[in-house]
């Protein structure tokens, strides 16, 4: 599942960040910001028009990502314990 498809408020864990093209700087930046395997993420809020951008929380930091950026991140939805 892509981070861009994650419903608001649902908790998930980052699987990986895919490069959209060669030398994808945005994907690299996402990895630097902490979108790496095993990190818990959550979509906190959605933008007012077309639910774009997404406000994503990773750890205690919040990032605004456009849908196209969030689509690079593959996540696994946590099953309720």
């Amino acid at each position: 599942m892509r981070l861009s498809e994650l419903p608001k408020g649902a908790a998930a864990v980052v699987d990986r960040v895919d490069d959209a093209h060669d030398a994808d700087l945005i994907a690299q930046r996402l990895r630097d910001l902490g979108f790496v395997e095993g990190e818990p993420v959550r979509v906190v809020a959605l933008g007012p028009l077309g639910a774009d951008p997404l406000l994503v929380q990773i750890g205690s930091t919040r990032f605004a990502l456009r849908r196209s950026e969030a689509a690079r991140i593959s996540v696994c939805v946590e099953t309720a314990p």
């Binding site: 700087l25 690299q28 930046r29 990895r31 630097d32 910001l33 902490g34 790496v36 395997e37 095993g38 990190e39 906190v44 809020a45 959605l46 933008g47 007012p48 028009l49 077309g50 774009d52 951008p53 406000l55 929380q57 750890g59 205690s60 930091t61 919040r62 605004a64 456009r66």
Partner: protein, 473 residues
């Protein structure tokens, strides 16, 4: 440069309080310069440590990583590695990290560590971390990182004492440099997680207050409404607070000029002093209050963290005109002045977005432009009292207002000749207006002979007036 001086570079993620720490250390005694080619400030300051050693401190741009997606990051990396022309390699790197956000900031600390240079970690914002109930085991962190770790509170007087004491001592030995490749890069995150697990106890992931505020501030409907209200209040306040000050400055300079000129003989010199020097100064300095008030509000919005939220709300709209949500902040400052607005665009990473914002920023109406508009409007838009050729139609259904209509008309038009003429005679203000009649077959009031719909409209200053918008009369 004396042999006793030590070159220190401050590095860290954006918003970790690096610059506050820099000002704390140097007491604001700094030299600001730009790196060639890109508009990035290079700040250097010096201070004398208690031991008498002179410390030269270089404040580098905030950086998330060394992958250089923005010019800031490229420069930071080049300086630290000694690759930047004309910049000596720093003797000591002070890596500043926000203690409340270690998960993000420690990664960069580890990245800097791999350069294999002597370094000290300054855990900044320790007061905020304690308030949030975070407990950081500094000794354990120090041991695991293999570098000295000091706590600082950059915004508090004396908050950098521990750091000063540490950098004044002997330079710590550096860990060996490590290769930089994709595998080790992913490994950094694993290391960060291990470090955090071993050294930090966090009560809750984010402050509950932040959550509650964001629920409203980022709400699709209320968020936009709040934004509109905030922007309205800011711009109203600029004029409510700035205008009296502007007037006072203008009057003050006028008064000063006249007093000085009273001692001068009438002539070109007096005119130069009164109108040129003091009149001109009064006008130019008069913009200052409005600009200062706007900057004050922008500062408040920025410090409160509202601006990134506004950027979030506006991103989609800005995208539709080829800009980005990040352009909002520079464009807003451009209402005060385009220069700081353009300087602020450096936080936009994408070169294309940055350039578009820079090109759009001067088109925002900065307050210094208002008098220019006033002048142009006065020059090109005639006053209402000047004669405008206006045709009025008065007809069956609306006989009463002939007289009122007449005063606004150059031409009275209607089907009822005698009424028109009577109105014309009764009202001397209609003198000079042509009277034109036409026959309405079937007396369809409100219809032009050509069949055009007649527009009935109130004119300013009259109770009722009839105005024909159809052409041809």
């Amino acid at each position: 440069m004396s042999a006793a001086s030590l070159r220190i570079a401050l590095v860290g993620n954006p918003n970790c309080g690096k610059t506050a720490l820099f000002n704390q250390l140097t007491g604001g005694r700094q030299k600001v310069a730009n790196y060639a080619g890109v508009t990035i400030e290079r700040k250097e300051g010096r201070f004398t440590a208690p031991s008498g050693r002179v410390l030269q401190i270089l404040d580098l741009p905030g950086t998330y990583s060394f992958d250089a997606t923005s010019p800031d990051e490229q420069i930071t990396r080049d300086v630290l590695e000694g690759n930047y022309p004309g910049e000596a390699v720093p003797d000591l790197i002070v890596c500043v990290a926000d203690a409340t956000n270690l998960r993000l900031h420690l990664r960069f600390v580890l990245e800097v560590k791999r350069l294999g240079r002597p370094m000290v970690l300054a855990l900044n914002m320790m007061d905020a971390a304690r308030r949030r109930g975070m407990v950081i085991d500094v000794d354990e962190l120090q041991r695991r990182l293999g570098m000295p770790v000091v706590e600082t509170v950059a915004v508090k007087r004396g908050g950098a004492q521990a750091l000063i004491a540490r950098v004044d001592g002997e330079v710590p030995t550096a860990a060996p440099a490590q290769p930089d490749d994709a595998a080790s890069r992913a490994d950094l995150h694993v290391q960060v997680r291990q470090l955090l697990a071993a050294t930090v106890t966090m009560p809750r992931q984010t402050a509950a207050v932040d959550d509650a505020l964001d629920r409203w501030a980022l709400h699709p409907v209320f968020g936009l409404a709040i934004l509109a209200v905030v922007m309205f209040l800011v711009f109203q306040a600029v004029y409510a607070a700035g205008k009296p000050m502007t007037d006072a400055i203008g009057n003050g300079f006028g008064w000063l000029g006249e007093h000085l000129a009273s001692g001068l003989p009438e002539g070109p010199l007096q005119s130069l002093v009164v109108k040129g020097l003091f009149g001109g100064l009064g006008t130019v300095i008069g913009f200052l209050p409005e600009i200062l008030v706007l900057f004050f509000f922008i500062l408040v919005l920025e410090e409160s963290g509202y601006l990134p939220r506004a950027a979030f709300l506006l991103d989609r709209m800005m995208l539709s005109v080829g800009l980005t949500g990040r352009s909002f902040i520079p464009l807003l400052s451009s209402f005060a002045c385009a220069i700081p607005g353009i300087m602020g665009t450096r936080s936009i990473q994408d070169p294309r977005d940055r350039l578009t914002t820079i090109l759009v920023a001067p088109l925002m109406t900065c307050s210094a432009r208002l008098p220019v508009y006033a002048l142009l409007i006065g020059a090109f838009i005639p006053m209402h009292s000047s004669r405008q050729r206006r045709t009025c139609i008065a007809d069956g259904a609306a006989l009463v207002p002939y007289a009122q209509a007449a005063r606004h008309c150059d031409r009275l038009v209607g089907a009822h000749q005698h009424l028109l003429e009577a109105a014309h005679r009764r009202d001397p203000r209609a003198d000079g207006a042509d009277v034109v009649y036409f026959q309405l077959p079937g007396a369809a009031a409100g219809r032009h002979p050509a069949g055009d719909r007649i527009q009935l409209r109130r004119l300013p200053g009259s109770r009722v007036a009839i105005h024909l918008r159809a052409v041809g009369l």
